[in-house]
Symmetry: D2
Subunit: 424 residues, 4 copies
């Protein structure tokens, strides 16, 4: 963890400017009929989960360039997640990935308690082969043509639930890479039937107070067809399984040009939005930092979420899911948690009464302007104040750097050599 | 109609070569365990509807360059459709578009009977304003914020059904342009709710022996959001409406890179495939001639259709829907009808028993090869023989040109001046 | 024109809030080491041309829904452009389109002088056939296989130059729709050679103080291939022609996912950036309002432009090019001019010294953060103050509505009936 | 190598059917005025290089599932390449990748001679860090901000040339992953200037009888910008470097919907087409088997190549570049070599005199039909006969399986455990 004196020193340097900015914004919002403190309070309670694997350096199929101080295992990862939460106060939970993060439940809970963290959704892995795994997922997992392989994948998911129950998780997220690389390689229909059968077997064992999230993705690692290729198929799954099954939306898993906020709206409308894997993308599943490529799109997603607040059953789970190849992962996750909160804050500023009126009147210019006015408002003072008020850092990245955390853990954690990606 | 002597003369010139090709292919297919005559017989019964508007020259928003002999109205259009059917024997029905094709039912039927044509699905139009139309569709039709405008659009669809009943049609196809051009312009959820309400009002009046086809499209004419934007939303509509509501798939209405055959498979699997608007596209809804850009994709769609043959309730409607900007529309439609049959014939050649075995064994190489072998077989002799046997032309385009049909109708139908597209 | 009293009244209502916002932003920017007045002064001199055709309602190939008070000709259009300039003080010039805007030069100049407007680049039209035009552009214009048709298109462009010389224009913009709809329809190489020959013939007649802008576009109205399909081909043209030939970038003319700011950077680097047609797009050449879909992308383009300021020969032309289907065109153009200035102002806020340092150190997090900080600054007070200081409106749209301009011209200009798009 | 008796036995089983098919096709082509033997002879001399790394199983960033009998090093790889050439007679050369394939030149040559193989272009690798490499490529290589890192990358390329000279290679292919993941991370212009400087340093050392191929790619491994992002930038590189610098086209490296054959035509027209990396793609750089997704696109590329045959300086290099994740790599490469030849054979069948006439007359229907007729001709008998005549297998895959080669090498080569992809 970062020493409190470092945080305090950083905040002391910045607090006067922050108060000036906050007051000025407050006065401006007051003229728009908005209470800045009310927005700050809502933002302060908004948390997004950090994926345990996110604190390690990512890679591509071509190469992986590890940074220094890479976490050696789940307990190092939790330490890193603790720092993110300490400075941002925006990431109170961690999402584990099995088998990467397997450890005794008591140890996990103790460590998390110590760091002030909780556990979010569990993530299963049937897209890789593990050492000593009897059957390979080369040709699929939950939708494999071989029943025994499917059963192995089902049991792995059940094990994830069991581990999750031990640490207080309440959801299982399933993402698989099943699909095909050639037209004809699979019977598209039979493959989906097998998937549904496997998913039903998992759902049948889901604890009553758990939710099951399934995630669609257009392509990669399968490059001709993917079993759960889009929200249409994802919806069919959630519908077939039952009320506790919901669809997870990853912002990078769609076809080019897709209107993602519309998918979000549809899933909300039909009661099947499970939550999000936040990141950003320009080309495919780029897993770039949230809000780094198209911040307006992120805002439009949150515009739908804020509009749906209070709707019965509306309770999406939020998680970051990024691959950090050229930055310090802790910095990227802190920055991204802030970007998620920024979009949320901006969406809270939308004058929804005025908007509804413009929509009813087909006054496209004023309706669009209403959204743009909210989006262009610089809400950084609100975000910073929410952090400060909760014991975090006004400027998390500067504070993190000042604390020398990366250098410190680099001294403790052995260097990892650069591994090639999948192609060698 | 084309004089029979012209057809006969053209066939006479070509029949020897055709028989040689047919026999050689027959011998080859025989070695693959396939009866060429059985394939020819199936192909011969396969028909695809021609859209009445397809026989006129299309255009873009930039310009329209009319050809000569443009049909002046529905009866000229039917004449042109009659020629297509006469030469190809592949297009026994015509699909009307209201109000463009409004005429007394008796007259329509008499003309069609005379030409040996029947009527396919009816198409409504609420994407344009008609003279004397009380309320504008500028901001939408079935999903408009104004109830009276929605009601006007509903009633137009009901009128289409009524007209269709008079001429023996058994289906209504709804495509609308409703959507928005700005983020915020519409409430995405409320707009879809209004759409569903309107669609239900139409469905409630659907005759028992009719089907309702709804068509999705990613974009255009709306450029930020479209109410029925993809198959996921289209499925929800069909599901909400009832058993006689099905989804229509237009090959050019999808996001870039979309696996269309997979959408076809999913809709079949869940009992909601209504049929197709065939065309081809490279960029967007280009409405190019079927099979002209990606013939393998067309084959893969038919591979799913042939695999589903005989499945209970499986009865998709097939129609061409193209915009002919640089060709004689009659030639394009004849050629495209042939391309549809080509894909069907190729798909019939797939060794499905072998394929299923390779799929079960995850032998991607042989499975893919099984499809490719069928695709690369040159089935033109089968298609030509099916035409010849049914009284059509071995080479429809050459025969059409030899007959001088375009010159003849150009003399009768006044020239149309080049109108600008939507932008002027 | 709008009465000054209406403008004054609108400004009076808003000036106190504006001064408060401006002062607060000034204080904030001062803490970042930036003089708000200096930014305002740069912004105030930044102008973007309005296309004459932009003040009319646009359309799609499916339909056109005219608004009220549609301009009847170039003089009405100039009136509308005058209002846009009057209220925004950001659009001092108009770009004409021939033959739509043909009129005696003296009359055009007199009208423009009266309205305080100048003339920007001339636009030729060889993508439509005009009444009495001897040869059709159905199969192409500057790249047509027929020499006489090419010559007709060349002469039209020369006429545009001549007209432009009469009214003080200094540039010709060429956009053509030439291409093909079928693989094989054209010889891709020969077609481009013909294009180059025609372009050279035009360039040979270009006055010494003129520039020639060529515009690329991926597709539409040609749907298989387009002669000038991308910036690579566009660059080759400009290179082949000579020093006064440059490439025009339209933000909606690229392949999905294209990094447009990188194209801008390359063209600047190689001395061939001619300028822009500003608009926004989600799918294709949607011609939506600038900044309405992806404002961050617009900012990134301006980030390259500001970085290149002062580079020898760097002098891009800026024009809006949008299609207004659901808004009052005057409102959209005022809003879009403001959005262009917004991106410019944001780009001026980038701390380029800090950025260069982060780039040199490969500190991606801080480099990206430097851009984001500039982008998220709400510069609206700067834009509004620049308008106010120059006699424009603090809130142009509200002032325009208050003035009742549309109602006034609707009373004078006859209603236009809804024409169908290209498909009917 | 495969035992000749196995090849002979396989051919014996198939030769009668082949002769029947060949004769029937010959008779058919004769009616079209084409000599089948002339086509076969041209096809027989057409070779495509195999990449050394292609014989190993590929992977994605998520996982790699190795097959059995994975080659342990370059000599095993050459053995596998030898089998591909032995059975297909279409892959006479191998393209090496340094440092993966480093070995004494004499040993490489001896082994290649023994297998009847030659060496094609050399491939450098500055997209990965190698053990003991002093400076990391994490932030770039030839375009890195650090001069010493650039120099290291330059020297690696020079070493590749040196190695290549020892084994008879005549070309160097450069593909780098340099780019950025965040807007602002790099100065797009300065980065390209550094790239050009480095490339010039390599070019300066290029032997007189060598060519330098540079390869563009839209994205991956960089996900916001890539230095050599498209053919426009690639052309600028080749132009800046000099006459022996050419552009390499990989079929999967383009934006969605890109008309690739047009890029090929442009590069030929301006003398800068270096050659190809053949594969197929549906979404991104999927590296699927050539012709497996869009065989018509491959044909259209070859249509341009055949049209350019004989043009001065036209001499493109052909190589397969695929990632084999679900097939035996040897089978995929044999199949893909055949697909390349198939497209070549089909393109040779195009009646170019007729085509030119239709193009001149703007007869799009007949022009397109001319291409389609060539494409749909089943040329497999020609390809098989070319193999048979040269000592290869009529059915390479069946013969390869019958020979039990994979089982044999699996016994000799130790099993490789499934490694995770870049993300773990």
């Amino acid at each position: 963890m970062i020493e409190q004196t470092v945080i305090d020193a950083g905040n002391e340097d910045r607090v006067a400017a922050l108060r000036a900015d906050y007051d000025a914004l407050g006065a401006h919002l007051d003229r728009r009929g908005i209470s800045i403190d009310a927005i700050r309070d809502k933002v302060a309670t908004y948390g997004v989960a950090v994926p345990s694997w996110g604190v390690g350096t990512g890679g591509t199929r071509f190469a992986r360039f590890p940074g220094t101080g890479e976490p050696r295992g789940i307990f190092d990862k939790l330490d890193d997640c603790g720092v993110i939460q300490q400075l941002t106060r925006a990431t109170p939970t961690v999402s584990l990935h099995i088998p990467w993060d397997k450890a005794p439940a008591a140890d996990l809970k103790a460590k998390a308690d110590e760091l002030g963290l909780g556990f979010d959704a569990m993530n299963s892995n049937t897209f890789q082969d593990q050492p000593d795994q009897p059957l390979s997922y080369r040709y699929g997992s939950l939708s494999h043509t071989d029943k025994a392989t499917r059963q192995q994948a089902i049991e792995h998911n059940l094990e994830c639930i069991e581990i999750g129950q031990g640490i207080g998780s309440k959801a299982l997220t399933i993402w698989i890479g099943d699909g095909s690389n050639f037209p004809g390689q699979t019977d598209l229909t039979a493959q989906f039937e097998r998937y549904l059968d496997s998913a039903k077997a998992i759902y049948a064992q889901l604890p009553d107070d758990w939710r099951l999230f399934t995630e669609h993705k257009m392509y990669e690692p399968a490059f001709y067809s993917t079993v759960v290729q889009d929200w249409g198929t994802n919806y069919l799954i959630a519908k077939e399984l039952g009320d506790r099954a919901h669809c997870l939306v990853d912002l990078g898993h769609h076809a080019p040009n897709t209107n993602i906020e519309m998918i979000v709206a549809r899933l909300i409308q039909f009661g099947k939005l499970g939550g999000f894997h936040f990141n950003d993308s320009k080309y495919g599943d780029d897993d770039l930092d949230t809000g780094s490529i198209d911040p307006f799109r992120l805002f439009l997603v949150f515009n739908e979420l804020v509009a749906a607040e209070g709707k019965p059953g509306f309770d999406p789970a939020h998680m970051l899911d990024q691959s950090h190849n050229v930055t310090d992962p802790i910095e990227s996750l802190m920055s991204s948690a802030n970007e998620v909160r920024r979009a949320y804050a901006q969406a809270l500023l939308v004058d929804r009464t005025a908007l509804a009126g413009f929509q009813q009147d087909n006054d496209a210019m004023m309706a669009a302007g209403t959204l743009k006015q909210a989006f262009r408002t610089d809400v950084e003072p609100i975000l910073a104040m929410a952090r400060l008020d909760n014991g975090g850092a006004i400027d998390p990245i500067a504070t993190y750097r000042a604390a020398g955390y990366r250098a410190k853990v680099s001294a403790e954690r052995p260097a990892v050599s650069g591994a090639g990606g999948g192609i060698v």
